[in-house]
């Protein structure tokens, strides 16, 4: 009788061991598959022009594959997945509350990947921060500012806020605002400014420079000269044109106006 029981126990153990081995195999295959997905998806994302977001997408997809492998292994061992998922649901609610911000950043990262507002290497402005995008990761975007600071911006903040991509289009416009005193010949100023824009090689001939009168104030007439430049030469052009404007206005005797008040005394003068 003992021998029979021992045989049964051995058979059960062998069956259990066999199931465990199969579950382990599923896990190993799932793990290898997730590694394969991780390795291959980088190339696929590059072909799709999504290499900037490969960090977040690759991690999400590979974990999804490995998660499915774990679920399959558990199911193979006879676990009721609905019970496990139910328990996991309760557990994930607890975890979710605890790591709400992190999950929000992951989801926001996926939205950023879908929108493709910027790529690694682009210069973006987010809030008050302007810098070059170093990486787009699971939780945050890393920037290098022009004064060489490392800035981490949570993905959620980028999705909620306004992003300006300074590198998206090949040419940019610089606006030069200046105030000239009342009484200055504005046609002359316009000709002067347009001539200096034509002489500056970094300032584009087309789209043509635009001259406009913005407003009048107690100081004088506010003018704007708008000039286009290639994106890579934008800063050089802006500096060169700013200097040229100052020199041209100085040479023409047009000084920046100072605040002026005219006092009128209407009371009769006493002897």
């Amino acid at each position: 009788m003992d021998a029979i029981l021992n045989d049964i126990r051995a058979a059960i153990d062998a069956e259990l061991l066999w199931s465990l081995a199969q579950a382990l195999l599923i896990l190993v295959v799932g793990y290898l598959l997730s590694r394969l997905v991780r390795a291959r998806s980088a190339a696929v994302l590059q072909r799709l022009g999504l290499e900037t977001y490969s960090g977040i997408l690759v991690v999400t997809v590979s974990w999804l594959v490995f998660g499915l492998a774990i679920a399959a292994a558990l199911q193979h061992l006879g676990f009721d997945l609905s019970v496990i998922l139910g328990a996991a649901g309760v557990f994930s609610v607890a975890i979710g509350f605890a790591s709400q911000t992190s999950f929000s950043n992951v989801i926001s990262g996926l939205f950023l990947a879908m929108e493709r507002s910027f790529n690694v290497g682009d210069v973006i402005k987010a809030g008050t921060i302007t810098g070059e995008v170093l990486s787009v990761d699971l939780l945050s975007v890393k920037l290098r500012t022009f004064d060489n600071l490392f800035v981490r911006i949570p993905n959620e903040a980028l999705v909620k806020g306004e992003i300006t991509n300074l590198s998206r289009f090949p040419i940019r416009r610089a606006d030069f605002v200046m105030t000239v005193p009342y009484g200055v010949d504005l046609d002359r100023v316009r000709d002067l400014l347009k001539a200096l824009a034509e002489q500056e090689p970094l300032a584009m001939v087309e789209p043509p420079p635009v001259f406009q009168i913005l407003s009048t104030s107690e100081l004088g007439v506010q003018l704007q000269l708008s000039v286009w430049a290639a994106r890579e030469r934008y800063l050089d052009m802006r500096t060169a044109t700013q200097i040229a404007i100052r020199e041209a206005l100085d040479a023409a005797g047009i000084a920046h106006p100072l605040p002026r008040r005219v006092m009128v005394n209407e009371a009769p003068m006493k002897d």
């Binding site: 090689p201 300032a203 584009m204 286009w228």
Partner: protein, 258 residues
Amino acid sequence: MIAADEWWSELAPEEGQGASWRIGPLTLRVIRLKAEWRVAWRVQDEEAEPTMEVDVPVEELDDRWTIRRYGFSTTTPSCRLAPALSDRTIVSRPAIPFVVPPGQSINLLVSTPLWLRVEVEGAAIQELPTLRLSDTWFGASTREGQLCYAARTHLRTVHDPVELPGWRALTPVRVSNRAADPLVVERLALPVPRLSIYRDGDSFWTSAVTLERPPEGEEEARVIVEPGAPTPGAARLGEPRSVSDENPVARVFNSIFR
């Protein structure tokens, strides 16, 4: 001083000596030292016909000059200033707009400034334009187009007398308007990087270009670079920079006329 038509010939300067060129507004010096080649240039207000001076000694240059030093383990006596063409498309704006009526084809001559390539010991070490041209944008919108150089042109026909400065190259351009409405040539984009440079007589030439505007609804506008020499006696001095089949000028041309 050596005659103007020899300024691109190969030179063999002694150590501590070099050559100086005056081409258009540009003055350029190339000096050979024991372990370096020194290239210096400055831009002057006055334009001059090309001249070359050899056996120029090393001397201190003031801050009007831009100087570059190129290190070699030891230098050998071999240097040349090669004429070349622009590295970008040049958009020429006629002083007076030119109209090509429907069904007409016109042969024009457009001149563009030369680029200069300093070659020492068989390698190009520096490239400079004889005239610094302004940047411009050629495209249907500020999002799509091509970064080019801008130039003014008189847009001569082949029957006009041409007195070309020796530092500019002539491009024969055939503009063909097969559409039903007149073609106003306000800007002419020459795909200069795709052109070869030639010499014929006293002038530099480039490959000829044909711009074809198709009838409405037919195939796309075409910019064709003619493969042969632009004139019967022209000798080729240099290859095109770009031999790409993709033609950004045609793409932009199409987007404008679409």
